[in-house]
């Protein structure tokens, strides 16, 4: 049952609260990299785009979602927990010994996780494999892959992009979470990959670019992607790293805030800003 725009907006805020709470509890992790991706992840899992059954997570006809930017695991765990793949309060075990919610996703330990990721650049090839499997088996499932923007420096992404175009994989959508930062600085400064949509278009992909923290735009983009025939789709999602707690990050004088949790003393302020 697809949620309404208002419901999705409210759920996105709830997902954000989960992200900051679980990473602060863990004492490590990548909250800012997770926060930029919240609207797309929420829309895919709760907006009626992804076909799944939490009681039968390996259902062969399910749609697939692959988080290639595996360090954003907290946003994946938040939506999977809210969807009911595991008890929601398990998110507070993130990164602890014995918890299946590892620092980066591990598909062998947690239902709903479609790929073990964390070494960047590999998710799109996995997605091509799923999309080819659908073709071989004459199934109509769709495969979504989310990458980061810094991740596009990995050459394998472009190997995969070329092969997806060769096989005209219109059952494959990649969302590039263009949050403008990577580990050591601004993506443009580290390795400028613009125009990202232009590059995918040159490889033969259908492309869209939009404000990826605007739920209304996200829903339109995902609908359009499913209507494309004969080509894979790239959605260039222009986002802000740390979306939802930008005022706090400004105050902390760190708009990238890469790979570290909020201090417990900042948690209440973050939750208040998220609303």
């Amino acid at each position: 049952m697809a949620e309404s725009l208002e419901e999705l907006r409210a759920r996105a805020q709830s997902v954000r609260r989960d992200i900051v709470r679980m990473t602060t509890e863990a004492g490590s992790g990548h909250p800012s990299s997770s926060l930029s991706a919240v609207e797309f992840m929420t829309a895919i899992y709760f907006g009626g785009f992804l076909r799944y059954d939490v009681k039968n997570p390996h259902w062969p006809d399910r749609d697939r979602f692959i988080l290639s930017k595996g360090h954003a695991a907290p946003v994946l765990y938040a939506v999977l927990g809210q969807a009911g793949f595991f008890p929601h309060d398990q998110i507070m075990t993130l990164r602890k010994l014995g918890s299946p919610l590892e620092g980066h996703p591990n598909m062998t330990r947690l239902a709903g996780v479609e790929a073990s990721t964390g070494s960047l650049g590999q998710g799109l090839s996995l997605g091509v494999g799923h999309a080819l499997a659908a073709r071989v088996d004459k199934k109509d499932f769709h495969t979504y892959v989310m990458t980061g923007d810094g991740e596009l420096g990995e050459g394998q992404v472009w190997e995969a992009a070329a092969s997806a175009a060769k096989y005209k994989l219109d059952n494959l959508t990649v969302i590039v979470d263009r949050n403008h930062f990577q580990q050591t600085g601004a993506s443009e400064d580290v390795l400028d990959m613009d125009p990202i949509d232009g590059k995918f278009a040159a490889f033969g992909w259908h492309t869209q670019a939009l404000q990826g923290n605007d739920m209304e735009e996200v829903l339109i983009a995902l609908k359009r992607a499913r209507a494309v025939k004969g080509q894979p789709t790239c959605i260039l999602s222009l986002t802000r790293k740390g979306q939802g707690i930008l005022k706090l990050l400004t105050k902390l004088k760190d708009e990238n805030y890469h790979g570290k949790p909020l201090a417990p003393k900042d948690l209440d302020e973050a939750l208040a800003e998220i609303g």
């Binding site: 790929a115 799923h130 080819l132 499997a133």
Partner: protein, 324 residues
């Protein structure tokens, strides 16, 4: 220990290359394994997956010269319930795509079959860049991988079927040139993780895989003329290694030679030494490629130059026995 000496070829004849035996078996078994999907990085006429591809075009994809993507796609196919098989030259698929083997296949323990062809220096004239001489070491370092190096045509056929029947990641190493027959015509004995004893002996055990099994049999024959009774083991599976066969070799013969067409570091010799040191330390000598790259030349000339011969094995056996 599997394997009866009656299955050993009685005379030394040249058989098909192990890549050819693999390719024909894959083609022949394709109908029996409907979930099998084969992906190629534009070398299928070298690795011999093209025969499967022509017979089963709906289950064959050539994704271009991109080994990283090749292995990643194999992971995706397997995650969706297929059994995927990808092949390229041993050097390219293990070295170029190592992180993909690690993250997209080994870590999720997927049912992916990796076939590395053109192993060793016996490929000949193309030279060092094309020679996979470190592939076994790399494959053994992937947790959960089975690593198989068949000796000849019949062994490669049996290994291919065993690989398809095994659930989980497997690395199969095959070679380019036609090689001497070790096994008589007909199904060769083959069980993953079980060495084949090809000849019994009490003075020394010659342990080999791939191209080096036949020279070990020839060396055993030569040593017999000197009164040395050499046991010969075809250790086709490097991982999991047959520890029972190793323990018996050490206890019953007291000296070991390990022969392989691979670098010294991390191959069969390293695995045997690690286990024998723990089970029952005995003198071990090695015949391998040492710590160097190959070069261009005819296969026969390179085999001679790099010492992949019965004479080198026999000399190593005498040394190991002397060190008892």
């Amino acid at each position: 220990m599997a394997g009866a000496s009656s299955s050993v070829a009685t005379k030394r004849e040249i058989g098909k290359a192990t890549r050819d035996a693999f390719g024909r078996t894959l083609e022949a078994l394709g109908a029996d394994y409907p979930d099998l999907v084969v992906v190629d990085a534009d070398v299928s006429n070298s690795t011999r997956t093209e025969w499967f591809g022509k017979k089963f075009p709906d289950r064959f994809f050539n994704i271009g010269i991109a080994e990283s993507n090749l292995v990643g796609i194999a992971g995706g196919l397997a995650s969706s319930g297929k059994m995927s098989l990808v092949s390229s030259f041993a050097a390219f698929i293990t070295c170029n795509a190592y992180d993909q083997l690690r993250m997209s296949v080994a870590y999720p323990h997927l049912n992916v079959k990796i076939v590395g062809s053109h192993a060793g220096i016996s490929i000949g004239e193309d030279g060092a860049s094309q020679m996979g001489i470190e592939d076994v070491s790399l494959a053994c370092s992937l947790p959960g991988f089975v690593v198989i190096v068949p000796a000849d045509e019949e062994s490669a056929k049996a290994a291919t079927k065993a690989m398809l029947d095994h659930k989980g990641p497997v690395y199969l190493r095959v070679g380019r040139p036609d090689v001497p027959k070790v096994y008589a015509a007909g199904p060769a004995p083959f069980a993953i993780g079980k060495a084949n004893q090809l000849r019994d002996g009490s003075s020394v055990t010659l342990i080999a895989n791939g191209l080096m099994v036949a020279p070990c049999l020839d060396a055993a024959e030569a040593l017999a003329g000197e009164g040395i009774n050499a046991r010969v083991l075809d250790m086709h599976t490097v991982k999991p290694i047959d520890r029972d066969a190793l323990r018996k070799a050490a206890v019953e013969t007291g000296a070991i030679v390990v022969a392989e067409e691979h670098l010294a570091h991390g191959g069969l010799g390293s695995v045997v030494a690690m286990n024998v040191a723990e089970l029952k330390p005995v003198p071990i000598r090695y015949v391998n490629l040492g710590d160097q790259f190959g070069e261009s030349g005819s296969p026969d000339a390179l085999i001679e130059k790099f010492g992949m011969t019965a004479a080198k094995v026999a000399a190593a056996a005498r040394e190991a026995i002397a060190a008892k």
